[in-house]
Structure formats: structure tokens, C-alpha cells
Symmetry: C2
């Protein structure tokens, strides 16, 4: 693996750095010896510590049952380099296809949960189901991020933000207003 | 108001167009004759129809009690033209300051809910509280968007996506992969 994509442990209380901007993510899972991955855009940060995130995993997805049964998943952050793969993953179902083989996605095993991390992604967040109170009503899962791995470079990767209808916005340009914040508002 | 910023009714089932990309939003509210507005980055789309969104409105915010009591709010979408205002709103509390007067924000009344729309924002989504099941546990409110107003132009405004620590990513560049999607995946 080239040095630029080497990943380091990252503090789970700071995953908002990558998820609050609202990127499309790839959610991978494992159940009964089979791996799967889906594209997902409906998620939010819920709490810093414990590190909680909420995600809508619609029951029409093969991943829904796998994640419900295993109680774990990995949230992987793709960059624009993976745009076509992101679309292709969303276009196929794990009920029919081994998406990792089909799309040539190298993985390694999670260190804290039994699910695959996607190497080509900028970050991997290992998650454990924390609260299923709204799963029945809204397919809304609340996970605790228990382990985070983030690529050392680039500092601000270009990420994909889905608008529907086949169109993504790209975020990558950065503007800082640090000097304008009250110090206690910076975290 | 210049013609470019004129707003039109927009289908509430399609608000994901603006919210799924994960922008910072300004949430305005009204209760007992007083208006307030806060900056918010923790939100997600939950359902197309009814048009449901979930948002974390932390109880440390003056808006929390106002929105709980009124059961309504407006989600306003600022562009990069409002960057400093977004920061300043986040830096102040409605308990101390009339932020609309302080920051020179023109408003008009909602047509479906009793709360102010911020004119300078690209879009205004009028919301009614739909489910408070997770408010106690996570400050997580589920709203139905009951009315949407969106500026006719520009088609793809530059939006702000907060990373924490005073830094925003900017999304505005657009890439389409319409041709790569299965037709039934486009909505």
C-alpha cells in the first residue's frame, strides 16, 4: 500500500470531522460468512461521546437484515476517485452479487467488529448497534463508532454528496473561520 | 427582491435534493411572540413521503425549548454568501440577543407554520414535529416538511458543510452519473 494511503487510528469522538459534512458512505457488513456493502446517504452524527451516529438502512436493502442480525457494520468514506464504484454498488444487490469481487474492492478485517473495512476508502469507522428503538418505524439504526481508521493524506479529500437523480455535489475546497468562533465553540 | 433570488414552491417529497448533501442549516423558530435561529449540522433525511427529516437540537440551545413547545420550525439553507452570519449565529444565544436584528436578517412568515423564513437563504423548509420519541434520549427531533420554498437560481448553490474546529468544506461543483444508474434508482 503506498505510504499516502496508510491509515492511522483516529479518535472516535471526532468522527464528525468526516461525517458531519454529509458525504455518501459505503456501509459494509458480514453475517454468517458472507460480506456485503451498500451505498448510503441518509445519516447524521448524534453524539460525540459515546460516539453515536444514526443511519437509515432501508429494509429493501440486503444489508438491512445482515446488520440487524449481526449488530455491526463498518462505515467507509469514499472519495471522488471511487465515484463510479459508489454508483455501481448502489445499482446492485448483495442478494445476487458478491460486490467486493465484482468491483475489485480489497478489504481487511475490522479490529473491533467482525465486518470488512474497504481499503480504498479514505476512512473506516467500525460500528456496533447501540439502539434499535426506531428501526421498526423508520429503518433508523443508532450505532456507536467503536474504532476509527483514517488515511494520513490528503488532509481534505474530495467527497461525494448525493442530491438524488444521479447527481452528486463534490466537497473538497475548505474555508476556515476559526478566528471568528468563540474559543469554547471549537472542538 | 432581485429576480434571481425569487423563490418557488418546491415538492416536499424532494427536499433530499438540498438536505441529503449534508449542509449546515439555519433553524428558525417562534414561540410566544419571540423569534430565534440556530446553526445546525446534525440532520438527516428519513423518508420521502411523508417528507421526514431528523435533527439533533441539543438542549443547551435556547431553540430547543421553543421548538419543543411550539412543535414547529423552519429549516433554512444558507449559501457561502452567508458564511460569517452562519458562524455568528452559532456564536450567540437567543436567550441574550435578537439575532435577526443583530445580523440584519430579513424574514417573512411561514405559510404553513408559525415561524419565520430567512429571505437570504436559498431554500426554506417549513416543518412540523412528527415524532418526539428520541428527544429525551438524544435531543433527536423528527419533523415533517410540510411546505418548501426554493430559489429559482442558481441551480447548484455553494453550500457549507461543517467539519468542526471552525472549518467548513464547500460543495458546489457537480458531477452527474445519471447515465450509469439503473432507471428505477433515479428519483
Amino acid at each position: 500500500m503506498p505510504r499516502e494511503t496508510a491509515k492511522q487510528d483516529f479518535p472516535v469522538a471526532q468522527v464528525r470531522r468526516y461525517l458531519e459534512p454529509g458525504p455518501i458512505v459505503l456501509v459494509s457488513s458480514r453475517w454468517q460468512g458472507r460480506d456485503n456493502v451498500m451505498t448510503l446517504g441518509w445519516h447524521t452524527v448524534l453524539e460525540f461521546a459515546p460516539s453515536l451516529i444514526g443511519m437509515v438502512i432501508a429494509r429493501g436493502n440486503h444489508s438491512h437484515r445482515m446488520i440487524r442480525d449481526s449488530g455491526t457494520c463498518v462505515v467507509n468514506l469514499p472519495t471522488t476517485a471511487l465515484t463510479d464504484t459508489v454508483v455501481d454498488i448502489g445499482n446492485t444487490s448483495g442478494a445476487d452479487v458478491d460486490k467486493f469481487a465484482r468491483f475489485g474492492l480489497a478489504t481487511r478485517d475490522g479490529t473491533s467488529v467482525d465486518a470488512p473495512l474497504i481499503e480504498a476508502c479514505h476512512a473506516n469507522f467500525e460500528c456496533r448497534l447501540h439502539d434499535d428503538a426506531l428501526v421498526e418505524r423508520y429503518d433508523f439504526f443508532i450505532f456507536e463508532v467503536v474504532k476509527a481508521h483514517v488515511a494520513v493524506r490528503p488532509r481534505h479529500p474530495e467527497t461525494l454528496h448525493y442530491t438524488g437523480d444521479g447527481v452528486f455535489m463534490v466537497a473538497g475546497k475548505v474555508i476556515s473561520r476559526r478566528g471568528r468562533f468563540r474559543p469554547e465553540m471549537l472542538d
